[in-house]
């Protein structure tokens, strides 16, 4: 690119600390601008990360991080050996697994079906409707679910009774909890998650389809040979993100639906951390759980990314 005047912002690259300092001095406005963001990053992200050392301590809030005695891996051992704590991990993994199995493919299917629609008005109407629940809070979604499933006044229970069956207390029974979590998750997010796949579908060149038609491929063959490979990158990326978050179920949703009667199947790492950590004051144990979650999430992401790059050539980075 031709430049008429040498710009102050683009000095000749000088290596070494002297060159760097010179660059900072010349562009100090930009670095000063970064100060609030960096301060925020350090205070609210990295200090708590460093504060995770309390997972290796018998942390006492009055003594603080500096004076609490060390405890080694005691809390991690407890986490893996206490059956009640193992249950949390199991619940978390099972719900995540169901989500990958049922909730993950739903938006892909929805996007594919929307893409096959011929009427644009109908397509836009469906989109307007299915995107909406994404903007409802989990408290509101729980309200809807409650109106549907409540044992006394729920719509579904009214139907069940009118068919001559016993009313079912869906929201207070452990065996329905995971289904309700996955189901309401699908209800709320499927439409919204389909957007990324719709964008991927829109990015497929129409000439590919025309060529396929000339070759006599029907719609199913086109789907198999053009559409699916076309959205594969998006699918892989979304799946990698989900895998990285396997232990993060979002307390926002689960805690709203959870009650004492559903702990058996529904109590997960995040909800337990809130109850026992923040309400119960067991800071070290719950920090150990949190640290475990972060490390596993990080490793899963790295491993899944590497595998995916090898197999599909797609990755997050």
């Amino acid at each position: 690119m031709d430049r008429v005047t040498p710009m102050p912002a683009k000095p000749e690259k000088k290596s070494g600390p002297a060159g760097f300092l010179k660059f900072v001095a010349r562009n100090r406005a930009l670095y000063i601008m970064l100060i609030p963001g960096l301060a925020y990053l350090i205070i609210f992200k990295y200090i708590p990360l460093a504060g995770s050392v309390i997972a290796f301590q018998d942390f006492n809030i009055f003594k603080g991080v500096w004076h609490s005695p060390w405890a080694g891996f005691k809390w991690f051992e407890q986490f893996f050996t206490y059956p009640q704590l193992r249950r949390l991990l199991l619940n978390t993994i099972i719900i995540s697994f169901y989500q990958i199995l049922f909730a993950f493919p739903a938006p892909i299917l929805l996007a594919l079906l929307l893409n096959e629609l011929r009427s644009m008005i109908f397509k836009r109407t469906v989109q307007t409707i299915v995107y909406l629940p994404h903007f409802f809070s989990w408290t509101i979604v729980f309200g809807f679910t409650y109106m549907l499933l409540s044992v006394q006044t729920g719509l579904l229970n009214g139907l069940i009774e009118s068919l001559g069956f016993e009313r079912i207390n869906f929201l207070q029974k452990a065996e329905y909890f995971r289904t309700i979590i996955v189901g309401t998750g699908i209800w709320k997010e499927t439409g919204w998650s389909a957007i990324i796949f719709l964008a991927a579908l829109a990015g497929i060149s129409p000439t590919l389809y025309e060529a396929a038609k000339i070759d006599g491929a029907n719609r199913f063959r086109q789907l198999w040979h053009i559409t699916l490979p076309g959205i594969m990158p998006a699918v892989v990326i979304m799946l990698l993100l989900k895998i990285g978050n396997i232990l993060d179920l979002g307390a926002e949703q689960i805690y709203m639906f959870l009650n004492e009667l559903t702990y058996k199947t529904g109590d997960v790492l995040d909800t337990y951390t809130y109850r026992i950590g923040i309400l119960g004051g067991q800071y070290s144990l719950t920090t150990a759980i949190g640290l475990f979650k972060s490390v596993v999430g990080f490793l899963l992401m790295v491993i899944a990314n590497r595998l995916s790059k090898k197999i599909t050539g797609e990755g997050l980075y």
Partner: protein, 292 residues
């Protein structure tokens, strides 16, 4: 261009339309049911008479909501939370994203990595809680707006957008002697309206909708945001549901209609801005699918 469709394809098209229509209905029915219930009498609700239309149409439930001082106090708190919280979010995100979008900035890669790293390796909840406590923010409004000041995903979106702007424009301004701050506010911001509106909505909806942060940091009922109020209202309802019918507690005063009207009023702001949301969020969601 006439497209010939085989019988199989025609059947598929019909089934597809039917399937998507049913899916849409499944989304709509719970919402309409709640709206219908909010306009119905308590008696009709308890007897399971309400489906998609109000029974014994009346506005009693709404009258109760309007008279409910606790509700309006939490509503007001939430409005304040959205305004102040989003303002902090926007200033922090823009001011951080702008320098990080400059490809010539030394140390840029390292700095971006430092931000992105916190996305894949989260700080656990408890040390964050202890920090907030030590900062004296516990049980204050600030605990809800300062810790989430920058959304990392939104920051990346913003950096990506700024990078697509022509640097020549900024250089010209620099030659004219404009400071970087003025360049950001007077040149970058006005031409970045699409991303700014998107981020604004992302942040605002998030502040309006979440209750869990407030559950963690706020115990003073006067500071409750609307969603935390709803959480307690509905969790209580769910707990009582178990015993209803067992004891014959006065069913006439069941607050169910009130709950429904509260839900409707609390959702109203979202529904009102939904047309904007749909337009700009979709852009944001698609931007998010771009890899750097």
């Amino acid at each position: 261009m006439a497209i010939k469709r085989s019988p199989g394809e025609k059947i598929f098209d019909v089934l597809n339309v039917i399937f998507l229509a049913i899916a849409s209905l499944l989304v709509v029915i719970p919402v309409v049911h709640v709206i219908a219930g909010s306009f119905s009498s308590t008696q009709a609700l308890i007897q399971n008479k309400v489906f998609l239309l109000p029974v014994d149409f009346n506005l009693d439930n709404y009258q109760l909501v309007i008279q409910n001082k606790t509700f309006w106090n939490t509503f007001k708190n939430s409005v304040l939370l959205v305004i102040v919280g989003t303002a902090i979010n926007m200033v922090m995100t823009l001011v951080t994203a702008y320098p990080l979008s400059k490809s010539y900035l030394r140390g840029r890669k390292f700095l971006i990595l430092a931000f992105v790293f916190t996305m894949i390796f989260h700080a656990p909840l408890i040390p964050t809680y202890i920090l907030i406590r030590n900062l004296g923010m516990l049980d204050t409004f600030w605990a809800l707006v300062v810790p989430p000041a920058i959304g990392m995903f939104n920051l990346i979106l913003c950096i990506t957008f700024f990078r697509s702007l022509p640097e020549e424009l900024f250089e010209a301004a620099r030659v004219d002697g404009m400071s970087e701050y003025r360049i950001l506010w007077q040149i970058a911001v006005p031409i970045s309206m699409p991303i700014i509106v998107t981020l604004l909505l992302f942040y605002a909806v998030n502040h309006w909708n979440s209750y869990f942060n407030a559950l963690i940091y706020i115990t003073n009922r006067k500071l409750y945001p609307l969603q935390l109020y709803l959480y307690h209202l509905l969790a209580e309802a769910n707990a009582i549901d178990n015993y209803r019918g067992v004891t014959t507690v006065d069913l006439d005063t069941s607050p169910q209609g009130l709950q429904l009207a509260t839900i409707v009023v609390a959702t109203l702001p979202i529904v009102i801005i939904y047309p904007f949301l749909q337009k700009h969020f979709i852009k944001g969601a698609m931007l998010g699918s771009l890899k750097e």
